[in-house]
Symmetry: D2
Subunit: 140 residues, 4 copies
């Protein structure tokens, strides 16, 4: 079901550079980015001791990238296909790296395991968006 | 029902400066901030012409404040009561101002009307949090 | 001397709700917010061990608030006096709290001492802006 | 000359995944991102009328990406080479697209011309960082 944000976006569908954008898939990716930003913001402080700097900075990089990625999807008129694809690639790479980092601490920290799960969901949603965009982009 | 973010936060409940924080109320406020950030990001570009600068900048200020407000609630160990209360006050004031600005364009733009609704919801959620915090704060 | 950002803002001066805004003072506050955001982002991971969660989350809250505060000053047409004043108050309170937190670790961490200094500079710049705005606001 | 942020970062140099990172080049890129975020935030509302949505959303995407890019450079312990390179690529692509969009309005808006210049500087600084990172990365 469409949430309010997507109902708003549907009103702008005609302006989108990509007319055939699958809004249900985009809603899924927006929600995955939002959930991942939140999980990483909570998780950033959960590891203390030796590895806390690596863990914290990895989580906060993921949170910031997910927020930026989400906002880029919400701005349908300003969507620039090439940088959108590059940003989806960057976010996906970061989410996978963050999932790996968080899993190192999952035995001790249940919240780290949950954060890793949110990262993986987000990476998958970005991959799906990227695949859809590559397929629908006009040939050169 | 608790979403994943709040399940993660519950694990940190013991560290919170305010032990009696109502997590259900906080989840509601976090979700209202997130919905408002998204609505305002979409709405920012919906007015064109004469008033577009005022409308756009008001919406983007609201989006940025809501994101910061949300993150401050997610960081339970770093919660500083006085600046938290001041930030809730600032966000509530901005959300009400943004709702008023967006309602000026609601006749022409259905998305502006929806954004105003998200702003009002967020202002109310911030007010509830602020009331709860003021009540539970230790007396001097 | 005016930097490029302020030269751009000067072109918008006529649209500002407060015509008599002192742009030199505003540039100083924008730069203090930017420097504080950067210092806090670096400092967030510098304390490890027992107090790392409090320290990290305090620094990241300050970084996020300073970024939002900076953007609100850059958006001259959308400036809403009441929420601007409330946000200056919130940022100032947070910067002072962060300076205090960072000074606890200044003996061990020279970067924490430098971050505390950036926080104090930012708190002072916000205070100056707030005083100027309160003075120049039209009486009821 | 090193600014305060870079003096703080130098204290963390030993933790960096890339020991030979050129801090002067990184400072230049951090400052270019910060200047570009500020310019784009001011510029976002300068075009009114027909193309205002495309222009505004392009500028705000650039501002958000530049802020995230800057923060990723400031977090030396959490630097993940692959996603850092992907993010530099994404930011560079977006900055070039934004410069092109802003140049369309440069005849009418001097601030649009200045913003385009800030975008080009940022794209170049990201390119330099990316080249340096690719060269210094260990071979497979």
């Amino acid at each position: 079901m469409m949430n309010m944000t997507m109902q708003m976006m549907e009103m702008h569908a005609a302006e989108m550079p990509m007319r055939n954008m699958d809004l249900a898939m985009m809603q899924e990716c927006i929600e995955a980015c939002s959930a991942c930003e939140q999980a990483c913001t909570v998780c950033a402080s959960c590891v203390t001791g030796e590895d806390s700097a690596i863990h914290m900075e990895t989580c906060m990089n993921t949170a910031d990238m997910c927020n930026t990625m989400m906002r880029m999807m919400l701005r349908s008129a300003g969507m620039h296909m090439e940088s959108m694809t590059a940003m989806l690639q960057a976010t996906m790479t970061q989410c996978n790296a963050c999932a790996e980092e968080c899993m190192k601490h999952a035995d001790m920290h249940e919240d780290c395991r949950m954060c890793a799960e949110a990262c993986r969901q987000c990476a998958m949603a970005c991959q799906k968006m990227m695949d859809a965009m590559t397929t629908s982009m006009p040939m050169g």
